[in-house]
């Protein structure tokens, strides 16, 4: 049970943090925090494919949509458990949404991961769009009207704890995988596919595994998103949402877990932080500033904020330098 120690500690720490936020922040900051949690899940999971395995997926929003719609449908139609243990039920449905997304990831990944680079990007983009168009045309899921009345948690504290549990699961799963034989396999695919193949690694199988795991957490992120907004429609899962996820990964640094988290929080907070600017200028310049800063970061710091280092590595480096 030793391996559970760190995750459990992390959950307790996050829950304590949630308790502080619950009283210390107003609803606006709380909502932003919850969106940041969803984005963290998205960027961490995409990091597995784009960052660690070096493949290029542009269809993450599609998997998120699958998870979101599954949860929305399950929560409004099925009643597995009594009211008192509803959180468990939400958890099961989030798991279900993730599994559905993972299955879709398998279907998409098997044929398309033989492709390389930009071609893979386009195929994943295509799958993302296909999922969105299909959702637009499914009347039992609301079509363009979307799906409203998805039950939420009622209070920020529960939402935050629920999100924390998933964040911790996601973080430690990916962390452990990356420090296992599989993880080395993923990295070898990124560094040099031909060399990896020569070393006896089945590169396509490695890529598919990374892709499926990544889709799973995207589905979970979608499920959380559905609970937090209580309303979803296909326009929440466009191509731009996928691009947003890629931006978070690259901004944080390819192959840095903590980098992804920091970048996801940054990307969620930045547009909100720029809101007061609108009072001064009269027009909404947020996206103009956002895109400009994106270009500048890419030019001035091409390896992203953290490169492939983790926060702990940065800290160690900082301590060493200052002593």
């Amino acid at each position: 049970m030793k391996f559970l120690k760190a995750p459990l500690l992390a959950i307790i720490a996050l829950a304590a943090l949630g308790l502080i936020f619950n009283f210390g922040l107003n609803a606006y900051f709380q909502l932003i925090l919850l969106f940041a949690a969803v984005n963290c899940l998205m960027s961490m999971s995409l990091n597995l494919v784009n960052g660690y395995t070096g493949q290029f997926s542009l269809g993450h929003a599609g998997f998120m949509a699958l998870g979101a719609y599954f949860s929305a449908y399950a929560n409004t139609h099925w009643d597995l458990l009594p009211e008192s243990v509803q959180a468990v039920e939400y958890f099961i449905y989030a798991l279900g949404g993730g599994l559905l997304a993972a299955f879709a990831g398998l279907l998409v990944g098997l044929p398309s991961l033989r492709l390389k680079g930009d071609y893979l990007a386009i195929v994943t983009l295509g799958f993302g769009e296909i999922i969105r168009v299909a959702l637009l045309n499914m009347d039992f899921l609301g079509g363009p009207r979307g799906y409203s009345g998805i039950p939420g948690f009622g209070s920020f504290l529960f939402s935050f704890i629920f999100a924390s549990v998933w964040l911790v699961i996601c973080f430690f799963t990916i962390w452990r995988v990356m420090h296992s034989t599989y993880g080395r396999g993923f990295l070898s695919v990124r560094e040099d596919e031909i060399a990896a193949e020569a070393m006896g690694i089945n590169t396509t199988s490695m890529k598919v595994r990374a892709f499926v795991l990544s889709s799973f957490f995207a589905g979970v992120a979608g499920s959380l998103f559905a609970h937090f907004t209580n309303f979803i429609n296909p326009s929440s899962f466009t191509f731009l949402q996928s691009v947003n996820a890629v931006i978070m990964v690259v901004l944080g640094g390819m192959g840095s877990m903590t980098g992804s988290i920091v970048a996801a929080i940054f990307i969620t907070v930045l547009p909100e932080a720029l809101r007061p600017l609108q009072d001064l200028t009269g027009v909404d310049l947020r996206m103009v500033i956002y895109s400009l800063s994106l270009i500048l970061v890419m030019i001035l710091r091409p390896q992203g904020l953290f490169g492939d280092l983790e926060l702990s590595d940065m800290w160690r480096k900082y301590v060493r330098r200052s002593s």
Binding site: S112, I130, V288, L294, M298
Partner: protein, 300 residues
Amino acid sequence: MQDFIQHIINGVSLGSIYALIALGYTMVYGILKMINFAHSDVYMVGAFAAYYFARFLGIENNPGIATLITLLVVAMVCCSLLGLAIERLAYRPLRKAPKLNILITAIGVSLFLEYSGQVVFGADPKVFPEVMKDFVLFKIGDVELKSFDITVLLVSVIAMLALEFLIFKTKIGRAMRAVSSNASVASLLGVNPDRIIAFTFIVGSSLAGVGSVLVGMKYPKIDPLMGMMIGLKAFVAAVLGGIGNVGGAVLGALIMGLSEEMVVAYLSSTYRDAFAFGILIIILIFRPAGLLGKYSVEKV
């Protein structure tokens, strides 16, 4: 039967519009191996440049060849200047950076143009000046062939042939191919890659300028997000034909236009985009480098 012929005409005319944009994507990809996401927004800026210039000269309701040529020149010049600026300011500093970074930068430039377009031009749609009068070339039963359809097709085929000539028959074309296959070796042989890449951007962007005027003439509604959808489709078309290949871009675009048309006609209009992407995926699975693209085996 009549409907079928009409669908073919519609599909080809839609496809030739995709082709004009797809050529720009393919040019830049061929030499830099990067998806220039901002291309479709350069196209948007070209349309607005033509719109404002026509209003400035007061020729927005004055259709004729002179108007067409003026606007084409204006759009081409504006687009190539913009393309050049983007290349110089955003892409050149990243020449050595990983591909994903360049792609994110391209997306950044694209978002920047779209949103500053909404601030500068306004988000409401504008009406493109009437450039030429459309007329019926011939008519059999209900089937009509319009002058615009033929014009757009002819322009894209001419552009394709001109590009083929440029790339394979001229000195600068040889330099472009050299930079494409290996930039550092090319520079050892006296080719200045930066200059060649800048030239490619000028050519690609001025094609976007041509496209913007022709599309504006056919569909007289322009807005700052007009490039998004058409850009995506054109790009998919370029990949379908084998990105980096000039002939492939036109072929892919025609297939894309025709398949969209036929899906609406005989299958389902609601699933049109899904089918278009489905076709792309199937083709890429069986021909991973696109229809005309050469699949090179990677060697160590």
